[in-house]
Amino acid sequence: MAEGIRDKVVILGMGCTKFGERWEASPEDLAVEAFIECLEDAQIAKKDIQAAWLGSHIDEINIGKGGNFLGAALKLPYIPVTRTENFCASGTEAFRGACYGVASGAYDIAIAQGVEKLKDTGYGGLPDSPAFGQYQAMFGPNATAPGLFAQLATGYSAKYNVPMDKIKEAIAHISWKSHQNGVNNPRAHLRKAIPIEQIMGAPMIAYPLGLFDCCGVSDGSACAIVTTPEIAKKIKPDAEQVKVKALQIAVSSGAETYYTEWDGAGMVTTQKASQRAYDEAGIKNPREEISMMEVHDCFSITEFCTMEDLHISAPGTAADDILAGFYDLDGQIPCQPDGGLKCFGHPIGASGLRMLFEMYNQLLGRWPEERQVKNPKYGLTHNLGGVPNQNVCSIAIVGKD
């Protein structure tokens, strides 16, 4: 009987670059910047790392394929480096690989690093790559990510009979809240509070999503060094431990795309992966037990639907919780305390690890008072890669004993 990952792995150290339009920085620069911080935090030497996992998505533009990029950039001494690519879950996949490597007993210490440099594309939004293969050009719509996610709004509105105006108001609150949180975060790309009126009145990108309903595009890297609780105790005898409580991935079965049952009002993968994660972590009531979250707000409507998909807001009530401030920094479950993808942008392979970086530091109480979540126990991270009807969801829960 499988036992799951709960309490078998400890995050020993983490690093994270400043995210943004890093015109001056190559992918190598970004990787080194996060790695040096991570190594110092972990209080180990490079030679102690026995295996590495590298998360990246759009390999053609930045780092190329395979694991060689990381080996060469960090001068890792001929250890295994495995590249993970699974859309926006790529970074969390790298973390999962490292955790499983340690939990299996194959390695004592492993590193997971996500790196992505998008700003050499030359245009806004994600690169127009055939993410679903050549069939996309032949069969698929002339679509972009905002347009594909935007349809959640029409689907949700139709299913729950929630007027589009109310959805628009709630998603504006989501973006407003994330911008508020990003202001105080020196690593965030966008650090400006945006008035709700400006969000509501912004130019339309893909109906009903306006400019501020879309996350930015940026460059960045984040990494984590993981080990077992026993080894962590030896390296940092007095430190509080941030343990991995759950790691789950769910991938669409094809039913949302090709079968007619899916409601188009949320992500089935998130619904499945989060339930499995709560079971793995021993969480009975996520609304009461989860202390804080970093979720995949590629678009405000994604965060909106995710609040229900995570079984925290009841079906049909996300707008009410959001507008009541339930997910604000001073609400019951702060969501995106670091500013989220909204303020960090979305260097795809790095995002999952950037979210874990925020949860890890919050759990250790390391942030200044104005953005420190009070007494957190469990932090949840969530990535959603692909498109609403065909995607991968990753959930990680980390926490203190």
Binding site: Y207, A255, Y258, T260
Partner: protein
């Protein structure tokens, strides 16, 4: 009995008022004011001769068993390919068998009737029993040219058969003249014409009466026997002169739709013929004459079967489905006549892998999915393993043709980020009638036309154009039902 068994028509939804063109370009050629009345039909940005021919042909064979079709002929002087038989694209879109005779007719504007004659001859000879003849043109004329005002876009289709004939074929007369009133060289994008007085007096003025006389002599008929005489001529004055010369009564003259469509080239006489059939009564004699590099003249007699033919959208239905294109530069952009900036996203490559395309050609051309023989679930694209969560059987399905099923809107958006010459890109998920769901581009609509649950039809459209390799590829889009203007 051999003749026409069914008809279909297609005039694109967008209409450009000729004064809008003249308002932009009249300064360069003020004499064009003479032709600047009425409006012309304009293919949408994702339409061309092939897609319009498919739309007309789909209308023509609506509700019919596609396995009965054993020929598809396409006539056009503006096919998207010199080599790649457009008739095969049309046959694929119609969902015919591939054991079928396909041919493209081109080179002159009389190619539409020449294709029709080839189909009639095959039916008469017994070598084919049901041949679809589809004609379409989308000719380009230079800015400020007279042709820019004269030409319009459109298509017509006829099903030629030896049974259930609504208009019996009674005979023909043809001429071939190397009379170069209009021409395009092998690499030319735009039409070039010789002096209009010569075209009017020698071209239409002599060749049309010559063809009519030839047909009457050959068939032993008089022009007064015909209830409609259908011939193209975009010069109003010349038409009056010809009608007078032939002694035609006003009710015998079939309108050429110059005021509302424009001259549709290879499709011109056939769109007029379809419009005539829409009004025809049993016993009517129709004379069909084409013009361009010579003439074909054909005689038909309408049968009682026309009363039983199911209603078609046809030309009349297409004309009623209209929207103004009030922007001349948008027209130029759609026809790729002016360079426009689509941003760096618009520079990304669209690769066509022909081996992959062949493997999937039935899905691409005919919107063919699968239907599970175990649980009945319809799905697109074809799946080896049934997508029904409770079923999941392997390789137990049969192909199912979805292009004529239509559907309803499940979700939608309007995307300003996607690179397109017709922003915003409107698309959404569509529940296909009978089962299956797919995200399709929407076309011939605005955001205001769309709501969740609203009905859509499917329309064969240009999916993308790869100008670096001169490739045009096609797929089906959703056309939401709209309030007609």
């Amino acid at each position: 009995m051999v003749g026409v068994r069914s008809y279909g028509g297609y005039i694109p939804r967008y209409r450009l008022n000729r004064m809008v063109i003249f308002g932009s370009m009249g300064w360069l050629n003020p004499a064009n004011i003479m032709s600047a009345q009425g409006e012309k039909a304009v293919a949408n940005f994702d339409e061309d001769s092939v897609t319009m021919a498919v739309s007309a042909a789909m209308d023509c064979v609506d509700g019919m068993d596609r396995s009965d079709l054993d020929g598809v002929y396409f006539a056009s002087t503006t096919s998207s390919y010199k080599e790649r038989l457009a008739a095969n694209l049309i046959a694929g879109a119609l969902g015919t068998s591939e054991s079928i005779r396909t041919a493209d007719f081109a080179g002159g504007l009389k190619s539409g009737t020449t294709a029709l004659l080839a189909a009639l001859d095959a039916a008469a000879a017994g070598t084919a029993k049901n041949v679809v003849v589809a004609a379409a043109d989308c000719r380009l004329a230079k800015m400020a040219s007279p042709q820019e005002l004269m030409f319009g876009d459109g298509a017509a289709a006829l099903l030629v058969s030896d049974k259930d004939v609504i208009a019996e074929y009674k005979g023909c007369f043809s001429t071939g003249h190397d009379f170069v009133d209009h021409m395009r060289g092998a690499e030319a994008k735009y039409d070039r014409q010789w002096e209009e007085r010569w075209i009017r007096d020698v071209g239409f003025g002599q060749f049309i009466p010559e063809a009519i006389a030839g047909l009457c002599e050959k068939t032993g008929t008089q022009i007064s026997d015909y209830s409609k005489v259908i011939y193209p001529c975009y010069y109003g004055g010349a038409r009056k002169a010809i009608n007078k010369k032939l002694g035609l009564a006003p009710e015998q003259v079939q309108d050429n739709m110059q005021a509302i469509v424009g001259d549709t080239g290879s499709a011109q006489s056939l769109t007029m013929f379809v419009a005539a059939l829409e009004q025809a009564q049993p016993g009517d004699k129709l004379m069909l004459i084409s013009y361009g590099s010579g003439c074909d003249a054909l005689a038909f007699e309408v049968t009682d079967a026309i009363k039983k033919m199911p209603k078609r959208r046809g030309i009349a239905g297409s004309l009623a489905r209209r929207a103004d294109l009030d922007n001349y530069v948008k027209y130029l952009t759609w026809r790729e006549m002016v360079p426009v900036e689509l941003g760096l996203r618009g520079e990304e490559n669209k690769w066509t892998r022909w081996s992959l395309m062949w493997r999937e050609h039935k899905s691409v051309l005919g919107f063919v999915g699968t239907k599970c023989t175990a649980c009945g679930t319809q799905q697109f694209p074809p799946q080896r393993i049934c997508v029904h969560p409770e079923c999941g059987v392997v390789d137990q399905s049969e192909p199912v043709y979805l292009a004529d099923k239509g559907g309803n809107i499940f979700s939608f958006t309007s995307d300003m980020l996607a690179a397109t010459i017709n922003p915003p890109a409107i698309y959404g998920a569509v529940n296909i009638n009978g089962g299956g769901k797919y995200i399709l581009d929407f076309t011939d609509c605005t955001l205001d036309d769309i709501k969740v649950g609203g009905p859509v039809d499917f329309s064969f459209r240009v999916k993308y154009r790869d100008r670096a390799r001169d490739i045009t590829n096609y797929f089906w889009k959703a056309v939401p039902a709209t309030e007609e203007a």
